[in-house]
């Protein structure tokens, strides 16, 4: 027995260090779900109004704006035209814009979109899953994501004007992968 005393001591202390380190390290990690600049946004797989499936992965390598919106939220309704205009202006330069609807009925979404004349993809969230994954607290929330897939900026609430969108898009496009 005595021969193994030292190895046993080391094995036990190493095990303690491993398990204890994991447990303590885990407790030190922040449990916040709110996304911030530099984070990688969570993936999603959602259908648009034409029942086409959009995967977050499909947008890798392109400057991307994700706008969370609902027809029940007046500022969301009001900033839709600005988003549409900017989309038209920049889409030839590779800008992608996705509007993720906040788990509303398809019909409700469709009739609003028709009114505004939006032609960027509108994805339907289901039971607030994506919204929760993105840690949304206020509507609208818009994520500006660089081609390398990192969040450049999160704009929470408030109304985005065309100028505000434009200056951010310019920065996004400059941040080539």
């Amino acid at each position: 027995m005595g021969r193994y005393r030292k190895p046993i001591q080391y094995v036990i202390l190493a095990f303690v260090l491993l398990v204890g380190g994991y447990a303590i390290g885990n407790s030190l990690m922040t449990k916040s779900v709110v996304l911030a600049k530099g984070d990688e946004p969570p993936g999603f797989r959602l259908a648009d109004l034409q029942k086409q499936v959009h995967d977050m992965e499909d947008y890798k390598g392109k400057p991307l704006i994700i706008n969370f919106w609902g027809t029940f939220c007046p500022p969301c309704r009001d900033e839709m035209p600005a988003l549409q205009n900017q989309y038209e202006k920049w889409k030839d330069q590779g800008l992608e814009l996705i509007g993720i609807n906040l788990s509303e009925d398809k019909l409700t979404v469709e009739s609003f979109i028709r009114q505004i004349g939006v032609d960027f993809p509108i994805l339907l969230d289901n039971d607030k899953k994506t919204e929760k994954a993105y840690g949304l607290k206020q509507y609208p929330t818009t994520f500006f994501i660089t081609p390398s897939g990192k969040i450049q900026e999160v704009v929470i609430g408030g109304l985005l004007t065309e100028e505000e969108i434009e200056s951010r898009v310019e920065r996004l496009i400059q941040a080539k992968p």
């Binding site: 036990i12 885990n26 779900v33 027809t71 289901n126």
Partner: protein, 569 residues
């Protein structure tokens, strides 16, 4: 600190030995001073395993955890630390909050300055804090190291016991007897041993010396208990593995099916019932109040079997279990438990069954089911087709007086239909329908239908109405949910290990508590009998055994007189 380790019997003992491993002669200075005091028999006087003359760094860490004194301090500090977590509610019990700023606001609002301090110190997350987990890890380490350092030498010592012990060792036991033996000492020892065997002692003899021993296994009880505690602690730490532990809440109205986030399961609240205590059943100060006696959610659990990740199709659900969930009667399925948490009285329409009427003829054309949530887009009523053009779950007008929905909940739904069919104008007739019987919604309905008329979209010919909405004071042709139930969904994969740990720990405790390790040594030197006995508890029982066996071989003694501790303790 430690001096000579070689006993006069020639045995070389490790550093820190109290009683010679071989003959039992006291080696510790303190024990040598008072030659009559009972011996300290802890761990049979063997040295702790890790005690060394020149400890190096790792040895010092090891020795730190090897100390029982340190272990006691750690436990006391942990207990005090744990009490801090009970001053105000912990963050984990606040269901609806997730962000640090939200928690900070909650503690400030609920508990004032004390709450602010409490939250700032991180005490609102006491049991998940690094220092608390750190203490648990240290206690776990201490358990392993303390046990290992003691159980191995003890096992060795008990496994190769010398039968003939030093006189000082025998005479300084807690139970002693001295006398004379006439005739052959060996023969006497033989007879005495036989009697002890009848008391289920194992007896070993050697040239007029004897060792009798029973229930040695009870010495292992504490260590088995410790193994159980270690399993228990590891299981608790295992909960921090994300897939091992889940604790969340789900609100469901009657008839609603929702996915349990993070799982492949869906749960439906089929029905919610509540029973109140009658006035006779209540105490005098509660009379007239509504006190819930029983509340119950009839729930069905489904597993998704197809199209689970396909956003273009509805998932295919297969029922796996149904259960009436009450407080303390959870629905459990494969480690998932759904508990009744609370409920809320909130009327919500699920569907209505309206009748389409042709106001020109005044005739009812037919009726259909209209869901308030995710309504179907087309309905066949008689020879007519109703197409849902627009749907606003909570009707209102925006700043530009365009119709919009104010929320996502069907609080006041509005449906815009286009009717087509025989003798209806080519583009169809458009009309809006509000199922809620409120004055305001009926007013909107009227105004909007008038505007459709002036725009030429409608002749005002069709209307929808729920017939006989109230029969015998109950809603008719309307399906609604009266209560929203809140279910607590838990998964704890660590639980089986916690039970195993607790069971092992219990076995260890029972072994240690209900049996006692008893040993009797005796030697006969030239007709002079010296007897000593030791037990870790219940020395009364040991004395009775010795007195009984002595009596059987012809020496009547009073068990009390065998007590060697009387004047000491």
């Amino acid at each position: 600190m430690f001096q000579n380790t070689k006993c006069e019997c020639g045995h070389q003992n490790p550093v820190g030995t109290v009683l010679c491993e071989s003959c039992g002669k006291p080696l510790d200075e303190k024990l040598l001073k008072d030659q009559d005091a009972p011996l300290e028999m802890r761990y049979d006087g063997v040295a702790r395993r890790s005690q060394k003359a020149n400890p190096h760094f790792v040895d010092r860490i090891w020795n730190f955890f090897s100390s029982v004194k340190i272990a006691v301090y750690l436990i006391v500090i942990t207990l005090i630390g744990a009490t801090f977590g009970t001053i105000f509610p912990q963050e984990s019990t606040l269901i609806n909050l997730t962000e640090r700023s939200e928690f900070a606001a909650f503690y400030k609002e609920e508990h004032g300055t004390a709450g602010v301090v409490y939250h700032a110190l991180g005490l609102s997350r006491t049991y998940e804090s690094w220092w608390f987990i750190g203490l648990l890890v240290m206690i776990g380490t201490s358990l392993v190291v303390c046990s290992l350092d003691r159980v191995l030498p003890l096992y060795r010592a008990l496994n190769k016991q010398q039968i003939r012990k030093h006189l000082q060792f025998i005479n300084r036991q807690m139970v002693t007897y001295a006398g004379t033996v006439s005739g052959d000492g060996k023969d006497w020892a033989e007879r005495f041993g036989k009697e002890l065997k009848r008391k289920r002692y194992r007896v070993y003899q050697e040239n007029g010396a004897l060792l009798a021993e029973k229930n040695r296994f009870s010495r292992w009880g504490p260590y088995i208990n410790h193994i159980g505690l270690i399993v228990f602690l590891l299981a608790v730490l295992g909960r921090s593995i994300p897939a091992w532990h889940m604790d969340q809440y789900l609100a469901l109205y009657e008839g609603e099916t929702r996915q349990i986030p993070g799982t492949n399961y869906f749960v439906k609240s089929v029905d919610f019932t509540i029973d109140y205590y009658s006035d006779e059943e209540l105490a005098s100060n509660q009379k007239g109040k509504l006190v819930a006696k029983l509340y119950e959610t009839k729930a069905v659990l489904y597993e998704c079997t197809d199209a689970c990740d396909d956003p273009t199709r509805d998932p295919v659900l297969t029922e796996v279990k149904s259960h009436d969930i009450r407080v303390n009667s959870a629905l459990t399925y494969k480690g998932l438990s759904l508990y009744q948490n609370s409920y809320q009285e909130r009327v919500r329409f699920i569907s209505v069954h309206p009748t389409l009427t042709d106001s020109e003829t005044g005739q009812a054309i037919g009726s259909f089911d209209l869901k308030m949530d995710r309504p179907d887009e087309e309905y066949r009523v008689g020879r007519y087709t109703l197409k849902l053009n627009d749907y606003y779950p909570d009707f209102g007008l925006d700043e530009q007086t365009r119709p919009m929905t104010k929320t996502r909940e069907p609080n006041n739904p509005a449906f815009v239909f286009r009717v087509t069919g025989p003798d209806v104008q080519e583009k169809g007739e458009i009309f809006i329908y509000f199922p809620m019987p409120s004055e305001k919604s009926k007013y909107y309905e009227q105004i909007l239908n008038e505007s459709f008329k002036t725009r030429g979209d409608s002749t005002g010919r069709f209307s929808l109405k729920v017939e006989n909405p109230i029969v015998d004071g109950k809603m008719n042709n309307i399906e609604f949910s009266e209560y929203t139930t809140f279910l607590n969904i838990r998964m704890d994969k660590a639980m089986p290990y916690i039970w195993v740990g607790a069971a092992i720990s219990m076995i260890g405790l029972v072994m240690g508590f209900y049996w006692q390790h008893r040993r009797i040594w005796l030697r006969i030197d030239d007709g002079k009998l010296s007897l000593g006995g030791h037990t870790n508890k219940n020395s009364f029982g040991l004395r009775a055994d010795v007195a009984w066996a002595l009596g059987k071989v012809g020496t009547e003694v009073d068990p009390k007189s065998l007590d060697n501790r009387g004047n000491v303790r």
